[in-house]
Amino acid sequence: MSREDTLQILAGFIRDVIGDEWDDDMEVAFDTSFSDDLELESIEFVALAESVQAHFGDHVDFVGWISNLELDQIIALTVGEVVDFVESCR
């Protein structure tokens, strides 16, 4: 699976999490920021984490990875960084 494939999977999860508020002007790319661009609420980020964990399985410890980041790192997190993390677990 390529980086692009992983991006598309994450983009699908993000659209599901945002739900009715998804706007077709919104774009999910490698440099899209969860905080500044998508304005994900913390409870939405939890839903995303649950989707990532359920899809990729226990060997992708997404929550454990996030829990080791500082708050400002979490706020600045981009979709591409999550893609790279998922890829690094393969």
Binding site: V46, A47, L71
Partner: protein, 252 residues
């Protein structure tokens, strides 16, 4: 999304890890299970099954128009534990009103609670200073009361700010939450002293809830107190210190 059906409520609840159960409860208005999910929960999940739930009206749980009193919130907790088949005594962690739910749950169901962690809870319940201040404050004072991350989201405008403000508006205007908080009966010292569970108290140094720390320390026979820097929103202001303090108490 794991939603559990109770008679008048859909509870959004998640679990992490395996082992003796612990349930984490957030505070009213600004809280959700997200405040535990990336910090306390993974740390406790190394040895315990960590349950987290959104209280009624909060996070991804449904928002009934009534039932924000402690008796109903306790019944929600009991209903949740029954629904997920947790029958053994649990550790209960609660911040703010979630702490009051935890404390009074331990009074009502002593056999169901193993240990308590009470974080910056208001006493007496109906005198929750945060709510009283909120009612009389102007917009600038209200903003100043919020934890920094939330304040920045509000000031940033946009989707997240709209959702945050709409969530609070709906709870305050479309539900009995404020009236329920205000009419909550006082807890007597004797009632509090009846809780025998080993208890960790954590309070923010500059929090309006600080007077409760001394009273709880005096009344609870089996408690210890930890004061951390910052104000009322300890799980957001000092997540790492709170996590290490709780992990030391529960796993130390």
């Amino acid at each position: 999304m794991p939603l559990i059906e109770l008679p008048d409520l859909r509870v959004h609840a998640l679990s992490m890890g395996e082992g003796p159960p612990v349930l984490c409860l957030h505070g009213l208005l600004l809280g959700s299970l997200a405040q535990w999910y990336f910090t306390l929960a993974p740390a406790l999940a190394t040895r315990q099954t960590v349950w987290m739930a959104d209280l009624r009206g909060h996070g991804r749980s449904s928002r009934p128009s009534t039932g924000y009193d402690l008796a109903t919130l306790r019944a929600d907790v009991a209903g949740l534990l029954d629904a997920v088949a947790v029958a053994e005594p649990i550790d209960l962690v609660g911040h703010s009103y979630g702490g009051l739910v935890a404390l009074t749950f331990a009074m009502q169901h002593p056999g169901r609670v193993r240990r308590l962690v009470l974080v910056d809870l208001p006493l007496p319940p109906g005198d929750a200073g945060v709510f009283d201040i909120a009612e009389n404050a102007g917009p600038e004072e209200l903003l100043a009361m919020l934890p920094e991350a939330v304040r920045e989201a509000v000031l940033g405008g946009g989707r997240r700010a709209r959702r945050l403000v709409e969530g609070i508006r709906a709870l305050v205007q479309d539900t009995t939450l404020l009236a329920d908080v205000r009419s909550e009966p006082r807890l007597t010292d004797a009632q509090i002293a009846g809780v025998s569970a080993s208890t960790l108290l954590v309070f923010g140094e500059t929090s309006a809830c600080r007077p409760a720390a001394e009273r709880l320390t005096q009344c609870l026979p089996n408690s210890r107190l930890s004061i951390v820097p910052g104000g009322h929103f300890v799980p957001v202001e000092s997540p790492q210190l709170l996590t290490s303090t709780i992990v030391e108490f529960l796993h130390g």
